[in-house]
Every structure is written in C-alpha cells, then in structure tokens.
Subunit: 338 residues, 2 copies
C-alpha cells in the first residue's frame, strides 16, 4: 500500500525543489521585465546562484520571462540563448592601464565589445573607451557598462560624451545590485540606459526568497482526502484553475468541471499513464515555447496585478462543487453527520 | 596575455557560485546550532533548495555546522550522513485513518519511527501514536513530530501524554518554518523538544539570502593591483588573515608576513602549482574534517560575535605593511608622487 505514496513523496521533493524555485526566479524576472519598459535585460546571476544547476535554471527562467541574454555561457549553449557577458574588473586590473585593457578586449571579443568603465573613475573610463572605439571598424558593435556609483547621472554623462564623439549607436549597460525597483526608478528618471544586467537580486531573491508551496495529497484510491492541521488545511480532490482574459477572477474548481463561460483551463495534460502526450522537444524549443506562453499569459493579467510596489492579486473564486466537496470531507473527518 | 585572466574569471564564477552560497548556509546552520543549545538539529531543506545540487550542498554545509542528520537521502549516501526523514502528511492522507497510517509506517520504518501527529488534531494524534507505540517491541525507537500550531504548548502537552503512558524515552521532534530565532525562543521557554527540523529558512535564507563577496584581482605578473570604483575600492596584494584565541581582533596582512605573537593564519595551502598538497580524501572524510575544524573555529570566536540578534563582528586590524602598500598603489594610480 505504501509504495505509491513513497513515490509521491519523492516526486514532491523533486518537483517542489525545482518548480517552486524556478517560479520564484521567473516571477522576479517578470517584475524586472515590467520595470524595464521595453529596454533589454541580461541575466548576470551565475556568480551568486546556489550552484551550477541553479545558474542554469536562473538563465532559463529569466529567458522565458523575456531577458535577452545571459552571462552564463553554459546556459546559453544548453538553452539556445544569447551569451552576453561583458568584461570583469579583474581583466582590467591585469593590464598596466585601462586603455590597454580596452584595446586587448576589443581584439579578443570583436562581436561584443562592451567596456566596463568604472574600475578607476567612470567619466575618465568613458573617455578612454571612446578613444579606443574610434579605432574600431565603423560597424563594430560597441558599448560601455556602468557597475557602481549613481547610475542615473553617470549614464546621462556617458550618453553626452558618447554622442559628442559621434558614437550615437553606442549602447549603455548598467549593473550592480539592480532589481525591479531600482530599474523602475532609473526608467522613471529617464536614465539613458539601453540594457540592465540583473544578478544577485534575481538569482537569490532577497524579498521573496522562496515560494511557500507544498505537495498535498488530495485524492487516493479514488477517494478525496484533506488535511486539517491548524492553519494548514487543504481542499480535497484534483483541481483545475479557470481564467478569463475579460475579468479579474480565477475560478478554482474540481478537475472534471466544465469551464465557466469565457474561461480557459490553466492546467493542461502533458503526461498520461507515464507517457508524454506531446512531441519530444529540444531544450531550446522548450524555452521558446515557454517564452511565448509567458508573453501571452502576462498580457492576460489585469493591470493591478502588475504593480511593482502594491500588486493586487488575482481574485480567486471557489466553484460550488469544490466548496460542497470540501464541506462534506471535512464533516466526515471531524465526525459530524454527512 | 588574456588567457590567465579568462581562466581567473571562470574560477571567479565557479568559486563564488558555490563557496559564497555554502558559506551563507553554513552560517545559518551555525546560528541554529547556537540556538539549539545542544539539542539535535536535522536538515529538512531539500524541498525548497535551488535544485538537487543545492540540496546536496545544504545537507553538507549543515552537517559540518553540527546538524545530526538530513532528510535528503541522496546527500546522506554521498557524505556519509544520517538520513533521518520522518513521514509526510501525504502518507497519512493515503490511509483510511491516522492509526492505520502509523501502524503501516512502524512496519515500513522499524528503525526510525517518528510519527507525524498534526494532520488532523495534534493531541489526538499523539494519543493515536501512543496506542500504536504500545504494540512496538520495547527497544523500538519511537517519537512524534509536531509540524504546526503553537509548538511550545503542543510539545509540553505531548511530553505529558508520553510520560503518562510510560514512554519517557520517546523523542519529540518539531518542524515548520523554524529558524534560529524561533528555535532560541522554544529553548528559552523550556519546550521539551529533542530535535528541530530546519528547512526553508536555512536552505533559502530569507534574512541573509546571499553573501556579498566578489573575486578581485590583487596581484598580476608580480605587481600589486587595486580597484578604485566608488564604494568598491580593494586593497592590493595577496592576503593572509591572522586570528588569536585570546583576543577579539583579527589581523588582515600580506600573505608573506609573519604572524603576530599568539596568532595563527586562517588561510593554509591546499594546492601548489596545480597539485593537491594533502592526501586525497573521500567526501565523507572531507565532511568529518570540516565538522571538526568548524567545532574548533566556533569555540575560538568571542562570545559577542555569537549573539543571535545583535552580533558584534570580530574587529579587524590592517597590518602596517598592507596599509603602506595600499597607500603606495593608490598614489601611483591617481597620479600622485610615490
């Protein structure tokens, strides 16, 4: 009797472990996307994630939320993403001076020359980047990255220097402890930043470090079951969630209920009797599919749920049938008459 | 010229990624150990860690900080730890009643029979656990786990029920959103809890989600280097840290300085010219070594650094030679006379 339950518990650990973590990261990435208002976002989290596997998961989750690249080359290869790291401070410190470092970097990485300009003094760093960029071929992609200080005023200053030098196509990348709130503030203040690198605060989210979800048995051997623990009671039976694009209300229902008018089920069958029901997809294809779904799903969400500081959750209504079943199982467990 | 730097940057990502994460977890685990004041601690984090690799790392880090077991069987096997999970709510819900679940569990796991008693009603669950335990062989290890509600009063009540039934050797395990602060409060209030299961709040630490450390190049080609970025300036040269058991002060010095009287170096050589300098150790041996070192290191720390709510960090003094080198390199970078 206990074998299927032992398997269920293994599934619990494995799924919760990966799914809730990736949901946390994807939510954080989605908030950054909302904050960036169309500007590019790049995953810089690999240094701070909880291991290599977590770094891959963060790159994947942020890609499907719309990030345009990752600094983690292993993830870019695996999921078909754009690898877009820039130079590190240690690279610059290995050279006698900043200019020599920029020259060597432009030679080493001709297709992605983004100079890190804050190692010694940011405005002087931008000046040296411009000197080196003047000797690059005209169509050579070029940009600067700001990683410390007042990013808003430094970006404005860098933009002025670059435009004055005729380098109007040069991009400005900002990084350094960014999250959705600092990105939103920079966008609101009109900082001329083309792309944001987001690292620690997405890969190891401080304000929402984990998703408090758990695996609960809701049906066994054809019978609905529920838990009554103080503050942790569950609703019995296999569920479905119905959502509509035309209203703010989700409906939590039993799995076999018909959708209310204008609603679509959020849960779809991907496996039956241990076998995949759809075609086998490569990892890059899976990411592409998930990104497309995310874009559609995000557009479905009511405006008030997307507010970065005071989001109002989607209202959830319980179906009549689910409510009736919950009451019936509760009564039978607490010994009240059915 | 850039090849060694490219390698250094890969090392940066790989090391930071694992080392700073494990340091964060080990610190959190150490705080739980201090709070538990000698009672047992078990790692319950696997459901919420950032993937399988992170779950292994959390089990390892908590083991070296003195946790007596982990619920993650894969980690227990790999690192030679004690696997000490208890039953899940889903196990109980799969049976017609709590008592039938307890009987099956005692049969399935005769060596580690800890009954989860809060699925329906905790005092009643303890009563059912006692009924089942009465039919176990006299030396059969037995205990109950509380996972919700007011753990302090529920533990006192469970202890009374168990003692009244003559089951004075039965252990009480508590879990459910615990961290060092709630553990310290339960200990301070004299809750008769023998072991604490710590999960999410250690494996995904909310109050200290990441360690803000970075790889910095301090010497290249025999020359000391430093970074001057606003708020992110570094000190040049390879370092050593000297600590004494007899005072509160660490000394940050250059690598080749002699230790001040009564001080010992914290950094030791483990690799030279790409080769390990010590014997090859198995993973369980490595964990044992690290646990022993941790115990010694913890005893060296001054009392005020161990306070859970207002810890005072170890004071750090910079050596005269390091200070002089920092000033010299800073002057040369900012163009002042040497």
């Amino acid at each position: 009797m206990t074998a299927p339950i032992a398997v269920a518990q293994l599934v619990e650990t494995a799924l919760l472990n990966l799914v809730t973590f990736q949901t946390t990261i994807a939510s954080k990435a989605a908030r950054c996307r909302i904050a960036a208002a169309g500007r590019d976002l790049v995953d810089f989290a690999a240094r701070r994630t909880h291991g290599h596997e977590a770094a891959l998961a963060v790159a994947r989750a942020s890609a499907l939320a719309g990030f345009s690249g990752t600094s983690y080359v292993a993830a870019a290869r695996r999921y078909g993403l754009t690898a877009t790291g820039t130079m590190a401070h240690s690279y610059i410190l290995a050279f006698p001076g900043e200019r020599a470092a920029f020259e060597a970097f432009a030679e080493d990485f001709p297709s992605a020359t983004v100079f890190l300009v804050d190692t010694y003094d940011t405005p002087e760093g931008v000046g040296r980047a411009i000197e080196v960029a003047r000797h690059l071929p005209p169509q050579h992609p070029f940009g600067v990255r700001l990683d410390s200080g007042d990013l808003c005023s430094l970006a404005a200053d860098a933009r002025r220097q670059l435009d004055k030098a005729g380098l109007t196509a040069a991009r400005i990348v900002a990084s350094g402890g960014l999250d959705e709130h600092s990105i939103a503030a920079l966008v609101a203040h009109g900082a001329p930043i083309d792309a944001f690198g987001v690292g620690t605060r997405m890969g190891v989210s401080a304000d929402a470090p984990s998703l408090d979800s758990a695996y609960k048995l809701v049906e066994y051997d054809g019978k609905p079951v529920m838990k009554l623990s103080t503050g942790k009671a569950t609703a019995p039976g296999a569920k479905q969630v119905f959502r509509t694009a035309f209203g703010p209300r989700d409906v939590l229902a039993l799995r076999n209920e018909d959708p209310p008018p204008g609603h679509e089920p959020l849960l779809t069958t991907v496996m039956t009797a241990g076998a995949r029901t759809g075609p086998l997809r490569t990892e890059p294809e899976q990411v592409d599919d998930a990104r497309d779904r995310f874009t559609v799903d995000l557009a479905w969400l009511p405006e008030h749920t997307l507010d970065l500081t005071s989001p109002v959750p989607v209202e959830v209504r319980t179906s009549d049938r689910l409510r009736a079943l919950t009451e019936r199982v509760h009564r039978s467990l607490t010994g009240q008459p059915n």
